[in-house]
Subunit: 201 residues, 2 copies
Amino acid sequence: MRTLDETDVEILRLLTEDARRPYREIAERVGLSSPAVSDRVTRLQDLGIVRRFTLELDRSKLRGGVPVLVELAVRPDAAAEMHEALAAADGVEHVFVASDPRVFFQARLPRADVRAFLAETFGAPPEAIVDYDVTVLTDVEWTPGTGGTDLALTCAQCGNEVDREGETLRLDGERYYLCCPSCRDEFEARYERFRAGAGAE
Amino acid sequence: MRTLDETDVEILRLLTEDARRPYREIAERVGLSSPAVSDRVTRLQDLGIVRRFTLELDRSKLRGGVPVLVELAVRPDAAAEMHEALAAADGVEHVFVASDPRVFFQARLPRADVRAFLAETFGAPPEAIVDYDVTVLTDVEWTPGTGGTDLALTCAQCGNEVDREGETLRLDGERYYLCCPSCRDEFEARYERFRAGAGAE
DNA sequence: CCTGAAAGAATTACGCG
DNA sequence: CGCGTAATTCTTTCAGG
């Protein structure tokens, strides 16, 4: 799989800012032609990095409900199924599955009636739920990665962020991004060992 | 301020599904012309309901960091400033401000080093933070409102959802949405009282 | 990845109820 | 004021290199 380059990251940044921006305008900014931008976007979608073009809505204007953050202590085996049910449930905006058997979700519910919501979503009584805790929210913010380094490349060697001082390496037609010369050298050496062991291609 | 109608909601649904969908295609589906759709979208933006056209990204593919949910107990007066600092910080995806003096945020951090992150974001030691608690996440999902009733109108009288059986009322050129005849009657009566008391306009 | 032509979409101007 | 139609302008897509 090909790695992303800085141009891809810039395209992502520009589209995150305004997903309806013409490809021609993006092309101008990144120094490519519009067909090239179009191709890259298609590739970013194929790679699953871009899941979809969508809207950022102010849900407080659409839904009268009270925003809540709910922490569920769940039966260890039930986390996956709860995740799905929650994602499909009405009013739920975010689902976070913890590494311990807990699931968090943020939602807007009529009258903050979490008990009723859980009963409706998981059946009554919801057997997979051991315990739950509700926090009423006054502010819910989603911060799409538009600012600076938020959409950054990660170093192929150490996983740290690759900034403008980073280096790029081309091996067998693939581009790799490295955060510093020492990572580049290590990576190159590792790559050579890999090649020697497994053969080219 | 004008209320939304079902057509607006359908437009929002279609754009949430694919924000780059041609207005002409949307127009066909909702039975309008493309300029009409364009006008409505502009209005939805002006009303602040559509914040922006953006991308839904698979951030796990872009950022190597560990996803965490952090609960901060903060000094009561500090919540607003923390909110801002967090929203601007690198790797932070969501910020939730509670009605009690707590702030939650979800982020992807290198090596899940929350202590370092907090020091960097709020200064060391971070005085506004009384305590904090970190949960490592295995799954982070954002559920854009595309499914069924998620993007629903709310009844001008009772705040409940307005579905296909709902009613619409036109008073002084404004459209109002009501979930049932009794809400419509109550709302109309309330409106008339308001008019009588405050005068028209 | 580029260029240039063809197809397609958005925007504008204008008229209607 | 919101909508439709039609002309204009701009964008995307496609073919070929």
